[in-house]
């Protein structure tokens, strides 16, 4: 119960020849909201896919709820997965099923509960994510924010010990995004689950995180509490916090050449070309 639900040790991964994650180690504590943050290309999505056991690392171990996700047999792995829930960035709701059937699916597949009970649990979860009454709609009839909520409802339908959220607020307006943050906080408080959130949204990260892991170019740049991250004097972290882009030196000549395109094209569409019209 009190062991860390996620322990990652010396994780190295490659995509083709590219070294994506470099010696990543981290541990998530029970009941904490752990944020994995980083810009695009930082490797945060890759890290998440490894935590979910969807990718096989080059080296290193990942222990989920005390079990090495790649060392255990497939049957054990499927059992382990019933104790974790995942809300994907796109929602990944099954488009051929109604919202209610989507949420009920894990219960129908993994439990012998009575259909009445499954129906009540499904509607309870919809209540929790404020989607009451939407169970018979198809995913295509939902808005972006509603899809994220429905995906969260599906992720928690088995009351998992461990919840993963991939970019829960991306692409949502600030009010809806903030309501999803509140929802994540309430879920942790009521159900005591550990929650891993992958995000690039600073505001949301500072609001809900217990600890933040900042990934940069596949390396753990910092792993600390919200306050410590805020106070950090690391330049790259400050750049991330203040949303500064790292500016490369500009060579004016090369830049101009790039803008003008190649010689022959620029002459065809240049002043000479216009004369012919």
């Amino acid at each position: 119960m009190n062991q860390p639900p996620i322990v990652v040790e010396n994780l190295n991964t490659h995509y083709g020849d590219r070294h994506i994650l470099k010696n990543v180690s981290l541990a998530v504590e029970p009941g904490e909201i752990f944020i994995i943050m980083g810009g695009s290309g930082s490797g945060k999505t890759t890290l998440l896919n490894h935590l979910l056991g969807l990718l096989v690392p080059t080296s290193g171990t990942i222990r989920i709820l005390g079990q090495d996700i790649h060392a255990i047999p497939a049957l054990e792995r499927r059992k382990l997965r019933t104790r974790m829930g995942v809300a994907f960035q796109s929602g990944a709701l099954f488009s051929s099923m109604s919202v209610g059937d989507n949420i009920a699916l894990p219960l129908r597949e993994h439990s012998n509960l009575d259909e009445t009970t499954i129906g009540i649990v499904t509607r309870l979860k919809l209540e929790v994510v404020s989607l009451a009454g939407f169970e018979s709609l198809m995913p295509s009839e939902l808005s972006g924010g509603m899809i994220k909520r429905a995906a969260l409802a599906r992720a928690i339908v088995m009351d998992p010990r461990l919840l993963f959220c991939d970019e829960p607020s991306a692409g949502l307006d600030p009010v809806v995004a903030s309501s999803i943050d509140d929802l994540i906080l309430r879920l942790r408080d009521a159900m005591g689950m550990s929650i891993v959130v992958v995000t690039h949204d600073l505001e949301s990260a500072f609001k809900i995180a217990d600890r933040i892991c900042v990934l940069d170019r596949g390396e753990v740049l910092a792993l600390d509490t919200v306050d410590a991250i805020r106070r950090s004097d690391n330049e790259r972290i400050q750049n991330l916090l203040n949303r500064r882009t790292e500016e490369a030196e500009i060579d004016p000549d090369a830049y101009l050449r790039r803008l003008m395109g190649e010689k022959e094209r620029s002459s065809r569409f240049g002043p000479d070309a216009r004369k012919g019209l």
Partner: protein
């Protein structure tokens, strides 16, 4: 790479490796499907009947009208060609033998297989491809639901049951259509034609066609799944792999047919 291979050779090599990998994937899918069919219940992940029936309705019942039309057309075509050809020897009266055998052994299974490949194989590829780019397959995996059991076994079973049934129906329709033309053209009467067909056809001929159609069913499903699961690159990729799945499925059907005939009839 210090020693660069000539580009053509390299491309052939890469294509070959890709092809072998895809064959391996197909074989492993088939193996996994049989595993879940046999052991799913014991592993707490039974293959359910409801989705099999749903797929069966879609693959079988919905295809009946078009199969009927095509089978009848093929029957007529064979009768017309048969009489025309045999006239050269003054042997029109023997047309029934050729029509009956070629329909039951070749044309019915082939036309059914090609039609199902175009209707259901492509739909399967498109559905799986869309699910893949929407992360729906990842979602199944992380829920602890084996995607092969949930997504591949139902259409495989439905296809394997319904393709032979559709072929049997195509046999009947095609033979009846040919009979109507032959009876009218040679003025022998439909009953005489039916008697002749029944006395000429052996169970072996019927089974030859039905066995082939069951093999086609597996081919169409697996080709559809392999292509669907290999989709990358968004909606455009789905379209590309769907087309590829139809072309590959039809090619596989025709080639397998030839191999089967070669092995069985010699």
């Amino acid at each position: 790479m210090p020693h660069r291979l000539p580009p053509l050779l390299e491309r052939v090599g890469r294509a070959a490796v890709g092809g072998v990998a895809e064959l391996g994937f197909a074989a492993s899918l088939l193996g996994q499907s049989l595993y879940w069919l046999a052991l799913g219940r014991a592993r707490g992940q039974p293959v359910r009947l409801a989705p099999i029936f749903a797929q069966g309705m879609d693959i079988g019942i919905a295809a009946l009208p078009i199969i009927t039309v095509l089978a009848a057309t093929i029957g007529l075509m064979l009768a017309i060609q048969g009489i025309y050809t045999l006239k050269t020897f003054g042997a029109e009266s023997r047309v029934t033998l050729g029509v009956a055998l070629s329909t039951v052994r070749e044309f019915s299974p082939l036309i059914t297989g090609i039609l199902v490949a175009g209707r259901s194989g492509s739909a399967l590829a498109a559905r799986l491809g869309t699910m893949r780019i929407n992360q729906e397959i990842d979602a199944l995996t992380v829920m602890g639901i084996a995607p092969v059991r949930f997504l591949v076994v139902p259409p495989l079973v439905a296809m394997a049951v319904l393709m032979p049934l559709l072929t049997l129906w195509a046999d009947l329709v095609s033979l009846a259509a040919a009979g109507l033309y032959i009876a009218a053209e040679l003025q022998t009467g439909f009953a005489a034609y039916a008697d002749e067909v029944l006395s000429l056809l052996k169970l072996n001929d019927l089974m030859h066609g039905l066995a082939k159609s069951a093999i086609f069913a597996v081919l169409v499903t697996i080709v559809g799944v392999v292509n669907g699961a290999s989709v990358s690159g968004g909606a455009e990729g789905v379209g590309r792999m769907t087309t590829r799945s139809v072309v590959q499925a039809i090619s596989a059907i025709v080639v397998t047919d030839m191999i089967f005939v070669f092995m069985v009839t010699r």
